[in-house]
Point group: C2
Chain length 120, copies 2
């Protein structure tokens, strides 16, 4: 019987930073994993909150009025409509949770937009 | 700036097995953590899928036609309506994701029902 998702195996299939892949579907939500390194773009998701759970490494989420730093085993929910900029000095592995169809760059499309993530 | 959820700290606040506590809200979903040991009851959630992510230890989810075993870093989504029975031989720490208001024992209430989980 299958259907078990081993997150480390899924992450091993990702080659590019900032390009999430889908690993599971829960009702109309997608669970994704992504590798981060460097700085992302400032953006907001007007229609949804967005959950970040660090699986390995360390990341910072810059927010308009400050920043939060997450390490392995820590999560943070960016509320809908809140401008944020993820950043990771070293490679960081993250689990993302958001409604299916949520685009990574939100209201600020550009070179890093990955509008149709693949299933890993 | 706060709002960072350290899962290990939240789990340390749980005393009883099979009693999930809420650690985050994402739109109308709750992220919960729970300590498992022993056998739970067979039940199904008629209205929603349910996600299990093992944070520490090992658990089995018995299903009508088999079972899946999850270890640390592995997740599984039980589809809505599917009868299942979680079990853990040794203490196991799990992250759960489901819509707010989902009751742990689903369609089979009993001694283990924990209908109003608290925020940890």
């Amino acid at each position: 019987m299958d259907g078990v998702v081993r997150l480390a195996d899924k992450l091993a299939r990702i080659g590019d930073y900032w390009q999430p892949g889908i690993v599971a579907c829960l009702n109309d939500y997608h669970v994704k994993v992504v590798k981060l390194k460097g700085e992302f773009t400032w953006h907001a998701h007007e229609q949804t909150d967005e959950l970040f759970l660090v699986l390995q490494g360390r990341m910072t989420i810059h927010l308009g009025d400050g920043a939060v730093t997450l390490q392995e085993g820590e999560l943070y929910v960016v509320p809908r409509g809140v401008e944020h900029k993820p950043e990771a000095t070293e490679e960081c592995h993250v689990l993302l949770l958001e409604p299916a169809g949520t685009v990574n760059t939100g209201d600020n499309p550009g070179d890093l937009t990955h509008a149709r993530p693949e299933w890993l």
